[in-house]
Structure formats: C-alpha cells, structure tokens
C-alpha cells in the first residue's frame, strides 16, 4: 500500500511515527472537503457585508445609511447601536476592540456597519452606498509617528533583565549601536475569514467559524449578545489556512453573523472579499529594534541592550504576548551574559496587529541574527563562527534573559551535522572566490540556527481536552479542542489514539472541533496543537483502555498484566480477542465506553512582573543553510540552494512534519524578502491583494532544497511520544536567506561593513544597500 504503512501483522496501520497522509487528502484532491463557504445553505440564508471606514483617525460626525437600507435585497443594517450588550471583541478583554466603530474610527478600514441582504452581491453593493462624514484627527500611522506623538502604548510593556548590562557595555572592548526595521506580514490564508450563523431556539445560535480559537469566539459572541456561553456553539471542521490570522480575528465576523441571525431569525453568512480581509484584519507586527552590543575580540557577546518597538495598531489584541515573545526570542540561541530588553507595544492608527506564526518570536530572532552579523563584519569573521562562539552552553552559559535555564540544547550537534552535510565551508570558500572576481552577480551563503520556546507564555492556556467514544461496533469517534488548518493535527492525534488501542487508523473518525464537545479550549496556536491535544486524547484512550482491561481480566480470569493490546487484537492470557469483539462484550457487560481526556503542561511558571520563570516546557531547534545570487545592478536575487536540518523530537508523522518545515521555511522567506505591506500617508493599506503583495510562488522555491529531520532527536521532556512542536519554529529558518543576501551585498565592500539590510529585503532594498555600501567607500575594483 502507501509508503508509510507497515505490515498489518506486526504493526497497526497508522500508528505514531509513521508517515500517514493527511486525513482529508482524498477529499482535498477530489474537491469533497467542505469549507464553510461550501456548506449547503439552509433555505432563507442571508448574507452580511461590512461597511469599512475611510479615515485613519477621525470623529464620526454623521452616518447616513438611507441609501444602504433602500438598496435592492437589503433586509437589515447593523451599527454599534444595534449591539444588544457589549460592543467589544477584544481577546484580552481590554475593551478596546469594537465590533463597529461608535464615535470615532481608529484606522482606515475599520468596520462601521454591516448590511444584511438576500445575496452576498447585494450586500456588498449596498455597503458602498453609505455616506459617513468624518472630522479628521491626528493619525500616527507608523512606529516613528507613534513615537513622535508621545509613544502611547496599547498594553503594558515588558522588561527582561539579567546581570549588569551598563557596566558590561561600558567595559566591553568592542561595542556597536544600531537599528533594524523588520516588516510585517499578511497571513494570506487561502480561505479568507468567514462565519455562518444558524439561529436556534431560545437564545442559542450555532456558528460555523473559520477560527483557530472556537472557545474565544464563543466567549466573545456571548459577550456581544449578552447571553451565557452555553447559548453559543462554535464549530469548525477545517480552515483553509490560519497561520495565527484566525486566532483572535474571527470573533468579529462570528459576532456579526450571530447578531444578525438572532435578530432576523434566519441563517446569516459573512465572508469579506480578499481585499477587505487584508484591509480590515490584523497582521504580523512590524518592529524597529534598537540594539547596543558589547563583545570581545573573539566575537563573544558580553552584553546586550535592546528596545523592541512594534506597530500594534489601534488596540491591544494579542500585542502584549506578541511583543513579550519578541523579547523571549531576542537571544535566539545565544547566551547574553548581561542583558536588558524592553518592549514598546505602540499604538498606531492602523489595523490592530495580531498573531502570526512565531508570534513575535521571529522578529526577536531576526534581531539577534543582526547582532551576530554586526559582530562578524566588525571582526572580519564568518558569522557562523560568531554563532558557534555564543551558543548556549554548559552551566555558567545556560541562562536566558528570562532566567530559564537551557538544558536541552542540541544545536552544537545539529549545526555541525548540517555544516558537513551542506558542505558549508567549501561552498563558502568557493563563493568568496566567485565574488572576488567582481562580477555583477554576487553570491552569499549563511547558516542560521533557531531555538524556539514551546508553551503558551500565558500559562493557563497550556491545557487541553478530548472526547473519545468507542461505539459498540468497535468504531472510534475522536474529538478534541484543537482545530485543523492544514497542519495535520487531526491526523496526528488520530494516530496517537490508533497506537493506544493498537487499531488501524481508519477505525477512527475525527469530528469537527466544537465547543459543545470539548469546552474551554485554548487556541490552536503556539505550535502546541499536538503536544496538548495529543496528550488529552491519549489520556481519554487510556481511561477506556483501563476499563476494557479490567473487564477482560475479570471475564476471562486473568491478571490485568495479561491483557495487552496488540496489532492482531487484544491478548487476554493465551487467547486473542479481536478489538471489536472485546468492545461488543464490554458493552453487554455495561462498561462505560466514552471518556473525556485532559492534559495540562507540567513544570511551567512565569512571573511577568519579575521577568523570571520557566515559561517554556522545552525548546525546539533547527538550522538552515541558504545560498543566494543577487544582481547588483537591479537588486534582484534568487535562492540557489537551501539545506535544512530540523528538530521535531521523535516525529509523530515525519511526512506531515517535513511539510511543516518546508512550508514554514518558504513562508519565512516570503516575510523577509518579497512580502511588503505598504500604507500611504493617509493610512490606507495599498497592498491588499496578491497583485501588490508578493507571496512566494512555486518558481521562488530554492533551486535545490534538501530538508531533513534530526532523526536522532528525542524530546527530553515527557511530551506526547517524545515529539516536539513543529508549527512555528521552521518559519525562522528563512532568516538564512536574508543573511545570505546580506553577505552577497557585503561583498561589494569587501565584507568590511555590515550591510544592515532591513526587511523585507525587496530588490529595491537590496539595490539600495549595494549602492550605500559602494558609496561608503567600498572602493572595489
């Protein structure tokens, strides 16, 4: 049969550590996998569309919706005045995230009203007919403007400090002060936001929402409608991509659909078109990092001070934990003996930025790698040498800026293996030779590592539930709090259950995530999906298994130890009972064949005020080597080759994990090179479709792309089957491309100056960096 499946007699089909296909693969290739917009619409379904503001910061003087109301097909128009309870969908309950703007608009593209019509086209057309008068207020669009206007923050900043940084910097033999701009990123999940609400009896409503966080959508919709959470059911079978963009952002759409559905007692669906989705929903934060680093002549870091200013947009959303995580990763894989890091979550009159794969961590890591580059170019060394000299090491060099001890670093081995397998040293020499010829095309190569902390830094989110039923025919129904967005979570968790019962994977059906089945779930985010939900599902399976063992041991008069689940059936003493026969017998004997599983991550704690604790259960590691060519006359570049060695512990599913690594890498490269968000001086986002916002295409992939998992790695912590999280860490492997471009640029000034290439490193930026270095006396031949 297919690649990953083993002989039926010795192993079950689809247990853990096998390369199973995505559980919906067959449906995806035949077009049979339903997304929310594909669901059969009940008779009477209405369609909602949002009316967006056309001012970045202004008082609303008047709203005239007469033409909207009288447009063909329009059934209703909703504004802030129509919200029954609380006009707020702030995920952190900051009461700064209105569903509809009331007296003021805070960014260009903010929802002001919604039209409900018989068809989507009618609603969309009617939404353009509103007449809103604004009295403009001063608007701070970007980080510099926000700082100039006094630096209002959307949430409390964080400070991490260890040692005596002022002294360390003052006494350091070498010191560099610099700045870096790091761009934001649009998620561009292929399926845009969508919610479909179907009213029920009493106060109830069922909402199909494309969300990574059904419980939060439930909580916030209940708050908006002024009903208890038990009246709101949120369900999601699958998303067409999420990447963090569907963590907090879906709540507004769910709330509008639910509000309209209850008001009109008809099903209501809302799907913004792509341009509005990009304009009206949050993105990855762009940052400005100000760094001050002291180091010795060998390139060892002695002290680091850094300020991490982020464009958060008009409200807190998840900017607090996002900017916190930037600081948690400002060290990347390097030991900072003395350190002070501060976040500045700045309020701007732009869309409120939100979660995006890595959650601020990547921005911190990029900053750390810039510091490494600065040191390397200052000392005339290969940046890899600086990296190795600064990796976390034995006691004395193993404590992070947040006072967690790094006990599981495998970077020494991982990086040296990759260095050899990619032939890094010889290729670097060849590239230096090539560049010495002084041609128009220059090359660069870089090996960059990543160390990424796994756990929600909000400790209470590190819990999960699962619901498992074994039916009397022996089939198994699995449900858990995690959501499927393509990452293969449903497949992995089903593999865990298959392995527990030693049954084939196709005996297990995974159903849509539903707040009715597993309550109080956490977002499927922070790479934690398999870690948390896999454990919860295993816990549920173990409960049922124990009951079956007790039943079998009593029925056939053997000890519990003599009942074991194997691929050929359940061994009870000397006899083998097929799983479904045992289940049928157990049912007749009135054994409870359903269980709710639960898991909470042990040993983690975090004191934000003190800036101390163990916020992460463990770290995931990886490294990438990329080689690029740039055209010094145009700034254009291409990735010639990338080699990746990535750590997922003992992989639950190597095929799915490799897919995450490949996809994460390419998404990271896109973030750092071609994906440029551009707001004009009025605060209008002018890059709101793939025509103006360049996402990597098939042709942008590295010419040679070697991806391997570190198969020898096992999680030191007792995670699910010793695996490690994989969702976010690989995104940061894309930094190898940025640094390789940087090296190619540096060649025009004989590597004497750090190119200080900011991101996204678009061809324009690369060209400007080349020109700048040449002008600075890169007086080369």
């Amino acid at each position: 049969m297919d690649g990953g499946r083993k002989d039926a007699g010795t192993r079950v089909r689809g247990g853990v550590h096998s390369a199973e296909r995505h559980d919906s693969a067959h449906k995806h290739v035949t077009g049979a996998a339903d997304y929310i917009d594909d669901m059969v619409e009940p008779v009477g379904t209405l369609h909602a569309y949002l009316g967006l503001s056309e001012a970045a910061h202004a008082e609303i003087v008047s709203i005239d919706l007469t033409a909207v109301r009288s447009a063909p097909g329009v059934v209703d128009v909703l504004t802030a005045a129509d919200i029954p309870a609380v006009n707020d969908v702030s995920p952190v309950h900051a009461h700064d995230d209105p569903v509809f703007a009331e007296d003021k608009v805070m960014f260009w593209g903010q929802p002001v009203f919604a039209v409900i019509a018989e068809s989507r086209l009618q609603a969309r057309h009617a939404a353009t007919l509103a007449r809103i008068d604004y009295r403009p207020l001063d608007a701070a669009i970007d980080i510099d403007a926000a700082m100039a206007a006094g630096g209002d923050l959307v949430t409390k900043p964080l400070k991490l400090e260890r040692g005596s940084v002022d002294k360390a910097l003052a006494e350091a033999p070498n010191r560099i002060i610099g700045n870096m701009e790091i761009g934001g990123q649009d998620h561009f999940y292929l399926e845009g936001h969508i919610a479909f609400a179907i009213p029920g009896e009493d106060e109830t409503v069922t909402i199909h929402s494309s969300t990574q966080h059904p419980s939060e959508a439930q909580t916030l919709v209940a708050q908006v409608l002024g009903v208890a959470a038990n009246a709101i059911s949120v369900q999601v079978r699958r998303m067409g991509g999420g990447f963090g963009g569907k963590e907090s952002q879906p709540a507004l759409f769910a709330a509008v659909a639910a509000l309209a559905a209850k008001r009109l007692n008809r099903p209501v669906k809302i799907r913004p078109d792509r341009d509005d989705d990009m304009i009206a929903t949050g993105k990855r934060h762009d940052f400005k990092v100000a760094y001050d680093v002291g180091f010795d002549d060998e390139g060892r870091i002695l002290g680091v001070e850094g300020t991490y200013a982020a464009r958060c947009g008009f409200s807190a959303d998840l900017s607090g934990p996002v900017t916190d995580r930037a600081l948690f990763h400002a060290d990347n894989a390097y030991y900072f003996p003395h350190v002070r890091l501060k976040s500045l979550p700045l309020k701007t009159n732009t869309v409120s930025n939100t979660a995006f794969r890595g959650f601020g961590g990547p921005q911190g890591v990029v900053g750390a790698e810039r510091i490494v580059e600065e040191i390397a170019y200052a000392l005339g060394k290969d940046p890899l040498e600086i990296r190795k000299a600064n990796f976390y090491g034995p006691p004395g060099r193993d404590v992070t800026p947040y006072h967690q001890t790094v006990t599981d670093s495998i970077l020494d081995r991982l990086v040296s293996e990759l260095e050899i397998s990619s032939d890094y040293q010889a290729r670097r020499e060849a590239i230096l030779d090539f560049n010495r010829q002084g041609g128009v095309i220059r090359k660069g190569i870089a090996l960059t590592p990543v160390k990424f902390g796994i756990s929600f830094t909000a400790t209470w989110f590190n819990q999960a539930g699962a619901l498992l039923h074994v039916y009397k025919d022996g089939s198994i129904h699995l449900n858990h709090g995690g959501t499927e967005m393509g990452q293969g979570l449903f497949t992995k968790v089903a593999q865990i259950v298959a392995d527990c019962f030693q049954v084939d994977l196709d005996r297990i059906r995974v159903s849509a995530t539903s707040t009715e089945k597993v309550p109080n779930t956490s977002a499927t985010a922070a790479s934690s999906g398999s870690d948390l939900n896999g454990m919860a599902a295993q816990n549920a399976a173990e409960q049922i298994k124990q009951r079956l063992v007790a039943f079998a041991s009593e029925k056939w008069s053997v000890s519990a130890e003599e009942v074991t689940f194997g691929p050929g059936g359940v061994c009870v003493g000397s006899k083998t009972v097929p799983f479904d026969v045992l289940v049928a017998e157990a049912y007749m004997a009135r054994v409870h064949l359903s269980a709710a599983g639960f898991y909470k991550t042990p040993d983690i704690h975090w004191d934000r005020e003190a800036g101390k604790g163990r916020p992460f259960y463990y770290f995931a590691y990886g490294a990438a080597v990329s080689e690029v060519s740039i055209d010094t006359l145009t700034g254009e570049y291409r990735v010639e080759r990338t080699d990746i060695l990535h750590d997922v512990g003992k992989s639950l599913n190597p095929a799915i994990d490799k897919g995450q690594v490949e996809g994460g890498f390419v998404q990271g490269v896109g973030w750092l090179t071609t994906e440029e968000l551009w707001w004009d001086d009025k605060g209008r986002l002018r890059t709101h479709a793939p025509s103006t916002y360049k996402i990597p295409l098939a042709s942008d992939r590295p010419r040679i792309f070697n991806v391997a998992l570190a198969e020898w790695s096992e999680n030191k912590e007792r995670t699910i089957r010793r695996s490690k999280a994989v969702g976010e860490p690989p995104l940061m492997l894309g930094i190898s491309v940025l640094e390789a471009i940087s090296m190619a640029v540096a060649s025009v000034a004989d590597y004497r100056e750090c190119p200080r290439l900011d991101t996204p490193a678009t061809p324009e930026r690369v060209l400007m960096a080349v020109e700048r270095l040449r002008a600075h006396g890169g007086a080369e031949a």
């Binding site: 995505h22 290739v29 991509g241 490949e662 295409l697």
Partner: protein, 152 residues
C-alpha cells in the same frame, strides 16, 4: 437574465444567470459544485481553476455566459468513478497539500500542464504553477507530485 447551457463534468446543464455572473459563481452557487474555490476574488491565486474546452481557466475571470456551449470540467469531474486521476493520486500520495484550499485549482492547472507538455522539467512545472498560490506547503511536495504524475 440570460440562459446558459454547457456540459459540466459530462452532464448537460443549463441555468438562468445575470450577464455579470462569473463562471465560478454559476458552478458553485447554481450547480453546487463547491470543490472549485474562491481564494482572492481577483484572478490571481488560482484556487478557482477549471477546464473549459480542455484548457485551464480561472473561473473567477470568466463570465458564465462566455462559457455558454462549452465543455467544462471541474475537480469533481476529474476522477473516473472511484478511480482517481493520476494527478489526484500523485497529490494525495506525495503530501502535496496541507489546508487543501488551493488543491483543486492546483490539480486542475497541473493536469493541463501535462496535457500540453507531458514531460515538463522541474523548472517548467514551477513556471506553469506561478498562477496558483499555495500558502502552506512551500510547493516542494506539489512539484514532486506533478513530477510523479508525469511519469505515470
């Protein structure tokens, strides 16, 4: 309103549409063939690719009336009963998908490529698929799938 008639996945269909109705709207909303997706609304992402008279077309960039009298194949019409088209099989077996939203369009584009160029180089595959955006996979397994299908 205009009447359109076409053959979709081997069956004759007809319907009343506004002249501005896009082919993708006709397919999804009137024929209820929802495997063809709308990703970007502006003819760039390729999630809506179908075949019209054997050529791949972004169905959000064509009016239903333009397809009047045509022979249309959507992702639902690609398999032969329970037997998957080799391209579908290759995407499934090579993990050429994650969230799956781009998959139908990607498969339909790739099928057209092999019809026009049965033995494409890797570079030709990548260039052909430039009109289909995938945000999940990094294209690695997608290209691999097309290569495998070309050998089938």
């Amino acid at each position: 309103m205009a009447t359109v008639s076409m053959t979709v996945n081997g069956k004759s269909v007809s319907g009343e549409v506004e002249p501005r109705t896009l082919l993708v709207q006709f397919i999804r909303e009137q024929l209820h063939l929802t495997g063809t997706h709308v990703g970007c609304d502006t003819s760039q992402c390729g999630a809506c690719v179908v075949h019209v008279n054997g050529d791949s077309v972004k169905s959000c960039t064509m009016l239903a009336v333009q397809a009047d009298g045509s022979d249309v194949t959507t992702i639902e019409g690609l398999a032969n009963g329970d037997t998957l088209h080799p391209m579908q099989e290759a995407f499934r077996d090579n993990h050429g998908l994650q969230c799956g939203f781009c998959t139908p369009g990607m498969v339909m584009s790739a099928v057209d490529l092999l019809k026009k160029n049965p033995k494409p180089s890797e570079g030709e595959i990548r260039e052909w698929l430039e009109g289909n955006i995938c945000r999940c996979t990094g294209y690695h397994n997608i290209v691999k799938a097309v290569q495998q299908a070309a050998q089938a």
